[in-house]
Symmetry: D3
Subunit: 232 residues, 6 copies
């Protein structure tokens, strides 16, 4: 697994933020709090809050420049935005958040594979920092995090070699590409696996999931260190 | 599992089409052949073809009317379109397709859960019929299908009850929601699982994957019957 | 005139719906009721309701695939949507509808000429069924339909041959193309005639209008049969 | 009928232009020539040309300001653009135009009813001037106009009063609203009639068509005078 | 400087309007009053009003036709719209305007250089007429204009020749292009200067500003004459 | 003036890049080279190249989150993009660039006033690095830079206090706000000044321009140090 680097509070204005690096991949993750919820949450009544995410790549984060529109509004960006939001919502007791929305912006500064997992990992930190700030300001009574969540990619590359945390080069040539999001205790928040080339067996799946858990434990260790015991 | 119904060649103009029903869910799947490939396939040179998909819901396919734009261009629709395209490409040897694109339109006429898996199942039939037509017209020498592929949803509902092929009501209240796409021999093309409520364990995952395979075998049996031995 | 086929209540969720076929042309017409009116109707005060329509073609309803955007948002689709809405509004006493909007979605499943007239004919049935449902639910006291309305196309084709209910092939080669919408008693709701080739005389117009009325009587007979005396 | 006023060559850059007024309604009609045709005309081969139109209203041409987008791209604007284009194409032998496109921009400066008919009438003049210029420059051998075309609105207003050339106030309260486009000899290019309130009878239609022809003769007289015998 | 021509009250519906010509450049400037303010002004509380502008060119105002979208929504049009709005706001005591918005539409009918300065000059007149009307209707107590404002372009053309009020031909070949907006007493509202070719010195800037003031005095004289002592 | 910090080659993929900070304002400036020119440059023939820019702010770069669309496509962003492109083009001999386009992306990571001037200053460095790389790769013979260019803002704040390099707080309350872009020798590339409150005199303008030049000399010194004698 590539080296994790976390720079907390990268943006002075934001309620929570971090620059999250995993090898050469670098994502700026920023949490913004708004004191309102979207209509479909409003309709539920009660004190439900909401967490949503927006993922975008800067035009030259990759080896070739792409247009801003495609990188922030295209199908791929929307799909990843939805995945990040869904994963982070699973980490939070929305009922204890109160009637507010936290938006996690994940802007990819430099892309070298694993931008969606880096966004979830860094997004979790930005989210936790924002919740911590809300608690310090006595806007919420307790930090409504259920557990840490961590994400990694695993895959099969180069005729059957199983690898953890794929770089762009490995990802582009992978036969199988999986993204796994888990809790501290190894339970699944989300798993997405795709056979880019050959279909893969249950046995292969099991091995990849084991590798993923080993990686996720490292991610969560780094998060714990950065967040300094925010969550008991 | 709900009842599968397949009406082949539903549209007279299209190269391949079927109305695919799974219980109350009804999707019109249509394959259109064009004698050109997108630029990024063109760049590879050779005789590579391409398969892509567009998923949309009719405005009143659900219990409440939604706007056309959201139902055909929104993030969810784009995400599902990409899933269908990716799954069907995995079933085809694109190199043997020749420089042509097959677009699979999946229009949901009536939605009662499982529209994405129904789209893949019906989309496979439309695709196979289009390939059969190309072969009959001697445009291609052989039908470049590698294997049948089938898709089902599985989930956990109502305090831990594991179920196959979720209806809309079950889906909306599920704790875990998975979509599995497999080949005849039970290998994975794609798996996507999400914990909507509680994170789930590896043991639960294994049970759900077993259930899914049982369902997919029924889907593939129905496909085989409809396609009448198109694939040896 | 081509054969009319009406399948009522095609969609279980909708307040009113039918699959309307005229020869090879097949349009799914669906009525959705919402308990609000657009601002410009709201401004009138009172108990005015509103009826509007959206016409779209599925991507492969024609012999060549077209893009979804063009088929549902382009100038032609918007023009036809406006025609359908205007015609159906003329059939209803909007003042007796109450402050609600009925949206008629007309999705062309298969196109072989006459899709706009088929949409009006099927749209009328979907609308009538929705009104009937509102009455049964005691939301309205009486069904506010003024009269049946029927639509047909007439044209001049192949050096002066006058024809009723043009197919796509006839339509594409027509010198004159008219769409007529009439009531049971032969009064005009709307008429639109275009000389695609040679301008046409008043005498020709009169003959075409006579043919149209004969066709519209058949349409209204089919509607009456399907609706089973909904309107005295 | 309201007073017609024609100011030829209003824009110095354009191949043909006129400011066309009909009472208080004022439309700037401008013809621009481009030496290429759209793909669907290109496909026909030969020397076919094309004529198209764009209709838009300035934001404050009406009594209340509307947004530019709605006034130039909305359904109504697109429908009228298509009508103008279709009508003007009917006046020209496109085969003799050669491989070029003439775009007629009709920008409504001041609106007081009848903007679509004023656009067609003024658009015809702009088109004729552009064709005359092409002939003078020896780009075409003869002016490929088949005949003059004129347009008027007729309607029923105020409990059955039949009127010619409706102002905005009359139009907004009309029971029947028709737009008629005819040639010098009284043949139809296009007719569009709508019952806004009560359906209307064949007898009423006949009377309205007679009134329309009387008005169109005045329009064509004004065009002939302005164009000074351009067409034998 | 080219000849200024002002036709007041060009549009009967608008609160204020004029056709402003400067040589061959011709801009229709129209003021529309709405009894509400945008949210960011609303938030200030009090009786602040707002003035905004929209600049657009008609498709054939230039020597070649351009698309409507580009001419009214493109970057250049938006930039000029912002400049016009900012300049006119500087002429008004917004606090005395009351909670209303005046929108100035500047539609370029014919372009021969200097369309943005003509828009500001004509826009000032339309604005002043609208304010006069509000005062006459006793909606405001006094006309909240602080001073006249006038705008001209100056530039360097043809190897160092300094010129006032550039035509399109001069503008396209200018080495330096400046737009200056001043009050009666020669104070600056806005200045924008660009070196299209060679950078220019402070000395050159001073000379251009002197020329500009001479031109602006002529503009303000014409405005005063047209507005007939509206402002003491 | 606030402290300038330049981190060169921030993105490994790009031809040239730097993170440019001016106090709390931080802009990532990236140059991308493409071997083609836009059509209007192509039409000139010869070996003309092109330089263009795109300016955008990240959603939470300011104290409140804004939507991505507004921050990268709105009128303000387009206006600034055009200014950056124009200024950088003035620094380059486009004829010696050859038939290629350099796009400068300026993404504001953190905004505290002066983002447009920081974008020009950092954009110049990214551009120079890209040109240096092209020369090292022997794609161009010499670096076609004419001179350094530097940009600063100056303004009047708090009842007449003249200040250099405004922060967000100062900018929001400024009476006059100017952006000046100059060369090493103090010649103007562009100047834009706006009276937000009171119009300002020629005397004030002169003082502000002097302050600006002093600031620009500091900017250019920092650029020279970072670029290490790239330009003689």
């Amino acid at each position: 697994m590539r080296k994790i680097k976390i720079v907390k509070n990268y943006l002075k204005h934001a309620e929570g933020s971090c620059m999250f690096s995993m090898g050469e991949t670098k994502v700026l993750c920023v949490a913004s709090v708004e004191e309102k919820v979207p209509p479909f949450v409003e309709h539920k009544g009660g004190t439900h809050g909401w967490i949503t995410a927006e993922y975008a790549m800067l035009p030259r984060s990759c080896s070739e420049r792409s247009s801003r529109g495609k990188l922030s509004n295209g199908g791929r960006a929307q799909e990843i935005s939805r995945l990040i939001g869904r994963s982070l919502r699973a980490a939070v007791d929305l009922n204890k958040l109160g009637k507010r929305t936290i938006t996690i912006d994940c802007d990819v500064i430099r892309a070298d594979g694993g931008t969606r997992t880096a966004s979830i990992n860094g997004g979790f930190i930005a989210l936790a920092l924002a919740l911590q700030k809300l608690k310090r300001q006595k806007i919420i009574k307790e930090i409504p995090l259920r557990d840490y969540i961590g994400a990694v990619s695993v895959g099969i590359y180069d005729n059957g070699k199983k690898i953890l945390d794929l770089s762009a080069k490995e990802d582009n040539n992978a036969d199988v590409d999986m993204n796994i999001i888990m809790t501290t205790s190894g339970k699944f928040i989300e798993l997405q696996g795709t056979a880019e080339g050959e279909p893969f067996s249950k046995e292969t799946l099991d091995k990849l999931l084991n590798m993923a858990y080993a990686g996720i434990k490292q991610v969560i260790d780094a998060q714990k260190k950065a967040l300094n015991g925010i969550l008991k």
